[in-house]
């Protein structure tokens, strides 16, 4: 269960908007400072850990660069909710421990709305509007991987347990 303010974006937010190509050489801390700036110059300054990114169709479409997901994670974004995702971004996000939820009704959520999200139940509550939306729930094994911080720490833990 998580709660945070909604930062709302439209359709087709691509990996160049999330992790601009010209900043790709920089370390993640510096690169993340440019995340989403081409569509919302104030985003990085106002986003706080726990906030939630809400978007339309095809979020994360484009290249396979993992930094697109890593930048959001680095900024403390707790979760991304979108009508649909670019498939490589979708994989990368979960493998980096960033929950992503598919929900057809993101158009009803407005900038700044207070959201409560339960990825296990696939439930999104817009407290500001008093509305509730259904998302596709994430299966247990993915929730466990997210809780461990992503694929690499998750497997590290699993193999350490096996040895113990």
């Amino acid at each position: 269960m998580m709660s945070g303010r909604a930062f709302v974006f439209g359709d087709g937010i691509d990996t160049d908007v999330l992790a601009p190509g010209i900043y790709m050489k920089l370390p993640i801390e510096q690169m993340a400072a440019h995340c989403l700036e081409s569509v919302d110059p104030g985003f990085v300054a106002s986003v706080r850990p726990g906030d939630i990114v809400v978007a339309g169709a095809n979020f994360g479409v484009g290249s396979s660069r993992e930094q697109a997901a890593e930048a959001l994670k680095h900024l403390g974004v707790a979760c991304v909710i979108a009508r649909s995702f670019g498939a490589i971004f979708y994989r990368n996000a979960l493998n980096f421990g960033l929950p992503v939820l598919v929900c057809g009704e993101t158009g009803q959520i407005a900038q700044g709305d207070l959201l409560r999200v339960d990825p296990a139940a696939g439930r999104i509550v817009d407290e500001t509007k008093g509305l509730e939306f259904a998302a596709q729930p994430l299966p247990d094994f993915l929730l466990q991987m997210i809780a461990d911080g992503g694929l690499v720490p998750h497997l590290e833990k699993r193999f350490a347990l096996r040895r113990a």
């Binding site: 479409v61 498939a87 994989r91 493998n95 690499v152 350490a160």
Partner: protein, 425 residues
Amino acid sequence: MAMTLAEKLLARASGRAAVSPGDILTCAVDLAMIHDSGGPRRVAPILKRWGVGVWDPNRVALISDHYVPAVDDETRRIAEVTRAFAIEQKISNFYEAEGICHVVLPERGHLRPGMFVVGGDSHSPTGGAFGTYMFGIGATEMAGVLATGEIWVRVPETIEITFDNAFGAAVVAKDLMLFLCGRMGMDGGRSQAVQFSGAAIRKLGMQERMTLANMTAELGGQVGLIEPDDVTVSYLRAAGVTSGDVSTWRSDEDAERAEHHRFDAAALSPYVAAPHSPANSAPVGEMDPVSIDVAYIGACTGAKLVDLRMAAEVLRGRRVAANVRLLVAPASRRDQDMAAREGIMAVLEEAGASLLPNACGICAGYGGTLDEGVTCLSSTARNFKGRMGAASSRVYLGSPYTVAASAVTGRITDPRILLAEGAPR
């Protein structure tokens, strides 16, 4: 429940009776393919951190093809790291300098209909030509697969693309894919499962089908599937595979497709893509007859036996224009040997081609690169800015027919013109 081919393959891999788009599954991996560039040097440190080895050495294929041959200390070190990994992890399916991974894998009988395979390379959808669910993943995910033998998948929707009738003379798989990239865009496949069907597709041989499936990567699909049939079975027999059932692996008639596109194969002409995107394509007749400096017949999509045959058909009895360098990097040693037996290698050499090793060559700028300002027409799959060398080099894409014809005239040329003239004496 009616299912598409992609859904049936994922149901098998996840041990379920039925799956639907959107389902998130854990799948058992039948085979993991890695190469020298994205393989051992990237995954070995992660496996070490976890303190584990590969889950099943017999289900891993390792191919050295990108940094082949080694030319300096760095590439020699990569070759060493790759060999050491094969020995340490007891990987017997290790092929060094035998050819490009996507071509070597099926030619050695590693792919069969119904399998679920991951590859550490973006052109891994090539395996879909065999009715294999095969897709590309990054090095971190590959380390996870090598350690566990498992990977999670979100079941994609299926986009079916049908080509009716038959392709005309000198119109081949490369033309079809450049046409589709131009028509649908580089993300026209929307990360979904693309399935190719229709009478024109069924008439294609296996290596042409591989080119089709391979470039599903350019369309942005996760996999590019073709239902296996008699053509598949005879290829597999020649590769020493006798097991495997083909009849199960087809889409049910009434299974749901997210999109269905239909085209008339007979209406297609040879296609060329201009710099710097495969989607920047048009029929060769509508392209400016740009002068070229380099003609490249190479890569997993452009230098298999069938591709070499196409080039030789045009080049027989002809010579490359004085100001053009024709480079040929046959996609595998076996294909080159077979081409030599057919007299094709002699035709290419007599035409003035220079031969490069059986490897990725200049396709991604590994084995040599294009100089500043050079214009190249290439039979490869991608022409992104700077991929083959200098950022100022300009790369056009075309079929082996078109590359060969343009090498002769010195500018981008419709191969049908030369083919209609017949071989000069």
